[in-house]
């Protein structure tokens, strides 16, 4: 055993000093020969005879040198490097082929690497937190549901009662205004328990971070900043930690800055402050928090779930009013990081680029087959000289792997560019902050593996074909063996069929997505977004109800009066941004349900002109009016979905919905109010265009005021023109009022479809590319087979065959292949389209229009690719053809 290692060690050393090896071996044997000749001469032979005699006695020095040489080297390394060098030389000699091959490979490998960088960064990488599998999410579990937000008092109870967690933190996010610099900005500030960074295991730099006692009111004016914010807003000032900054007009001491490369940099939240519950916030029925925890060492998630279920049961028992029937749900953090639509979308894209690469491989296999034929003589000679089939196949495959590594290198460069471009095009927040997309070692290793496999894949079949030839037949001129030719033709036919089928699947998939996107974009959002401007007013004035209402009405009046404004309204949430609130309700007159178990419905507070401004039609009854104010009976307009769900087949008008009052300055819910249903309005889309509308109700702002509002303004002409006038109107009422996020409603609507648009565009681009590559491939194969049959065609023409019949013959052969390919492709597309279901909107996977379109496109392209060479065959001059060889 040790001897073997010694041999390997000596061989490694020789690897470095290879040239000396040859010289040493020669010298050693030359010495022996010389000595033997000397001896013979001393015994009396003539010098020439002596030399001859010693050589005879010695044996064949060349063969012996070879034997020794093989002992001293790693034979496979030698033959490998020889194959590689030979392969490179051959590639240089055929620049046309090399260029086409490298380009094809670069496209395929580049696209695959780029998409893989996303797949790896989002789906495959482990979470970037230490021991991330011990981080869990906790939810309140309502009766009949799974995940719900958490109330403050429940959370505090969980914190004190549970033993399973080494840290448990609550979080909620709200933008605040950062003052104290020239242009106030609105960073998104999260309020978190002080143990927040302990839970994730990533701690701030430059500062102590949060202390456990900072969750008490009065001690909570500290803040931790995102690294980006520290750099962009404060110029990376190293004296900032320890000093105070102004948030919402109050001083907060900076106690830390997050590290540069942490996942927090890629997240939405820009700053963190401790959550200190004010007395008003200590309620059990307002679920505004999210909770994250880290399991104590040694505690399993099942044990934690069991403990929390018990705690939840105890709370339900102690506080049935708010918590009866509610429990707790604990799940691994990783489960919620990537949405299904994102992961599905990524897998679909990855499948698409894999298919693109396969089509490229097929093309290259065809090309290599042709090349193999041209080198048949070389193969025959080498086989005659003793090269085994395995050795020859290995040589050919090595050549192809070299080619594909070249293509891979170019592909990585292309892929990097594509990856960066995609990163820019993605809407912010499309990827979870835990994702890290980069062309790093993992992706490069993947690209390398793909390159090598591609080379083996498209090189193996042609190599096997090329080395199967009958030696003697090939050595003779003509090189036109019957069986091997047929075999080659069969392989080529199979490759063409595969290309067509793959391209079909890809184009069909793209077609489905395009149709789906078109349907999505034409979906009626329930409002008219032409000429509507939106903006948010985060602190619309005084917090208490008495002063808020007149303030808000004054604001509206001024804006309404501004030049160019047709109609203006305020709401607590903008269209497509959700309902704002979900409130549990009780229909008056029906069987009473415990407050804790009531159904919830969307609850939006709007000014009376809301429906008019957005072009929403009132179907029944009336809309809200200025007469509905505090002092008059509380009224509400419900939407069509809610009317059908809650009052099926009945008239909802006159019914009363009992809902607890929300006061603007505290999360505590007040007494139940009987909201009278006075109208039904058409649905507006609140969740996103691909979701069906959900049920909800609208109440007048005057009757349920709220200080953080959004303004929607319908203008007579271009909404951008009206912006200045509106700003002036707002500031005429209150010049310190911050206006933020001025956007066109049409833009908001478009942005909500950014992700499906990007996905569809990508898939369409890949499909187009695949179609082009496949078309080139089919054309190449057809041209080649025509060239092969030049003699035959010449004979036929000379014997009187018309151009038309030649055309028909060649075309017929090609179309047969195309027909088979299309059939297989259709079958494959129908089978695989089911995988797209999650991404499709309003379109079934087997959509006949998309399939028909794909059939037409692919059929036409394939036909054209066959037709051109066929026409050339038709025009062949028979004399020239017969002479050609």
């Amino acid at each position: 055993m040790r001897e073997r290692w010694h041999a390997i060690w000596l061989r490694l050393r020789t690897l470095i000093t290879r040239r000396r090896l040859d010289r040493d071996l020669a010298d050693e044997m030359a010495f022996h020969l010389h000595m033997r000749a000397e001896d013979a001469r001393r015994r009396g032979l003539a010098p020439a005879d002596a030399a001859a005699a010693s050589r005879r006695q010695f044996g064949n020095p060349t063969a012996l040198r070879e034997t020794s040489r093989e002992l001293w080297t790693f034979r496979w390394i030698e033959s490998f490097s020889r194959d590689i060098r030979l392969g490179l030389r051959l590639l240089m000699r055929q620049p046309g082929f090399t260029a086409v091959a490298v380009l094809t490979l670069a496209l395929g490998i580049g696209a695959t690497s780029a998409i893989f960088s996303f797949v790896d960064g989002v789906l495959l990488r482990p979470l970037p937190y230490p021991e991330a599998n011990r981080i869990v999410l906790l939810w309140e579990k309502p009766p009949g549901g799974l995940r719900n937000g958490i109330s403050a008092l429940n959370f505090l109870d969980w914190q004190t009662s549970s033993t399973s967690f080494s840290s448990l933190t609550a979080t909620t996010v709200r933008p605040m205004t950062l003052g104290g610099i020239d242009e106030p900005t609105r960073p998104r500030v999260a309020r978190v328990s002080p143990s927040y960074f302990d839970t994730y295991g990533i701690h701030p730099l430059f500062g102590p971070g949060f202390q456990p006692d900072e969750d008490q009111p009065g001690r909570d004016h500290v803040v931790v900043l995102q690294h980006k914010v520290w750099v962009s807003q404060f110029g990376a000032d190293s004296t900032l930690p320890g000093r105070a900054i102004t948030l919402d007009g109050e001083a907060y001491t900076v106690v830390g800055v997050m590290p540069d490369n942490s996942p927090f940099e890629r997240g939405f939240t820009q700053a963190w402050r401790p959550i200190a519950f004010t007395p008003g916030e200590r309620t059990r029925d307002f679920h505004w928090l999210l909770a994250v925890g880290r399991l104590r060492p040694g505690v399993t998630i099942e044990r934690a779930q069991a403990e929390m279920t018990a705690i939840g049961a105890r709370i339900a028992q102690q506080y049935p009013d708010s918590n009866k029937g509610w429990s707790v749900f604990v799940e691994p953090f990783g489960d919620q990081v990537v949405s299904t639509s994102l992961s599905q979308g990524l897998y679909v894209l990855f499948g698409a680029v894999a298919m693109l690469l396969l089509i490229g491989c097929v093309n290259l296999a065809n090309l290599t087959l042709a090349r193999g034929l041209a080198r048949a003589r070389e193969v025959a000679v080498r086989a005659a000289l003793g090269a085994g089939r395995r050795r020859l196949v290995r040589q050919f495959v090595t050549e192809n792997v070299v080619l594909s590594l070249l293509g891979g290198a170019a592909g990585v460069a292309l892929g990097y560019a594509l990856m960066e471009a995609l990163r820019q095009l993605l809407p912010p927040g499309a990827l979870p902050r835990e994702a890290l997309v980069a062309m790093d070692g993992r992706v490069l290793a993947f690209a390398f593996l793909v390159s090598v496999s591609t080379g083996v894949c498209f090189g193996l079949a042609p190599a096997l074909q090329a080395t199967k030839s009958d030696l003697t037949a090939t050595m003779k001129e003509g090189a036109r063996g019957g069986t091997s030719d047929r075999g080659r033709r069969r392989v080529r036919a199979a490759l063409v069929i595969t290309e067509i089928a793959l391209a079909f699947v890809l184009v069909a998939g793209a077609g489905l997505l395009v149709r789906s996107l078109t349907t999505l974009l034409h979906e009626d959002p329930g409002f008219d977004d032409r000429n509507v401007l939106t903006m948010t007013l985060p602190h619309a004035g005084p917090a208490d109800a008495a002063h808020l209402v007149p303030y808000v009405e004054d604001l509206l009046a001024h804006v309404q009066a501004a030049p160019g404004v047709t109609s203006a309204a305020l709401a607590d949430t903008l269209p497509l941004q959700g309902w704002g609130n979900g409130m549990p309700y009780q229909v008056a007159g029906r069987a009473a349900v415990d407050r804790a178990n009531r159904q919830a419905t969307g609850f939006k507070r709007v000014s009376p002109a809301y429906f008019q401004t957005l072009g929403m039609r009132v179907i029944k009854g009336r809309g809200l009016s200025v007469e509905d104010r505090s002092g008059t009976p509380p009224v509400t307009v419900i939407n069509k979905t809610m009317a059908e769900a809650v009052f099926p087949g009945q008239n909802p008008l006159g019914q009363h919905l009992l809902i607890q009052q929300i006061a603007p300055d505290q999360p505590q819910l007040g007494p139940e109010l009987p909201w009278e249903v006075i109208g039904v309005v058409a649905d507006e889309n609140t969740q996103g265009l691909d979701q069906p509308p959900s049920g909800g109700m609208y109440v007048p702002l005057a009757q349920s005021p709220y200080p953080s509002l959004s303004l929607v303004v319908r203008s007579a002409v271009r909404p951008e023109a009206v912006e200045t006038a509106v700003r002036q109107a707002v500031h005429a009422v209150d010049k310190r009022l911050a206006i933020a996020d001025v956007r066109l409603l049409a833009d908001l609507r478009r942005e909500s479809t950014a992700q499906p648009r990007l996905q569809t565009a990508l898939l369409a681009a890949f499909a187009a590319l695949a179609l082009t590559v496949a078309a080139i491939g089919i054309y190449g194969v057809m041209s080649y087979s025509v060239a092969q049959r030049t003699r035959e065609i010449g004979i036929r023409t000379a014997l009187g065959a018309s151009g038309g019949s030649v055309l028909g013959m060649v075309l017929g052969d090609g179309l047969r292949l195309v027909a088979i390919g299309l059939t297989l492709g259709l079958g494959g597309a129908l089978a695989l389209a089911r995988l797209l279901t999650a991404l499709l909107f309003g379109v079934t996977p087997g959509d006949p229009e998309a399939m028909a379109f794909t059939l037409a496109v692919l059929g036409l392209v394939a036909l054209a690719a066959c037709f051109i060479p066929a026409r050339r065959a038709m025009r062949l001059d028979p004399l020239a053809a017969l002479r050609a060889e």
């Binding site: 040790r2 001897e3 073997r4 010694h6 041999a7 000596l10 061989r11 040493d24 071996l25 010298d27 050693e28 044997m29 010495f31 022996h32 010389h34 000595m35 033997r36 000397e38 006695q57 010695f58 044996g59 064949n60 020095p61 012996l64 034997t67 020794s68 002992l71 001293w72």
Partner: protein, 96 residues
Amino acid sequence: MLVLKAVAREPSHGYAVAKWIEETSGDVLRVEEGALYPALHRLELRGLLASEWGTSDNNRRAKFYRVTPAGRRRLAAEAQDWRRLARGIAQVMQTT
């Protein structure tokens, strides 16, 4: 084994080994001389011999081999096996 024994006697180059085997075996053993060298190289690769380039008596560049401790051990083991084999054969042949 013969080669090992030859080199074990004294460090020498390939020609000297050939000559010694020839002389000592009384010309009974005569192989294609060149085949000696792959044999020497195999032994060297396995660590039973160590080599060194030097100059011979008549001032030519030659490769000298000497036996390593591992080589000596192997020689002893092989010699023992050989003697046992020879004894066994002799015993078989003695019985008529």
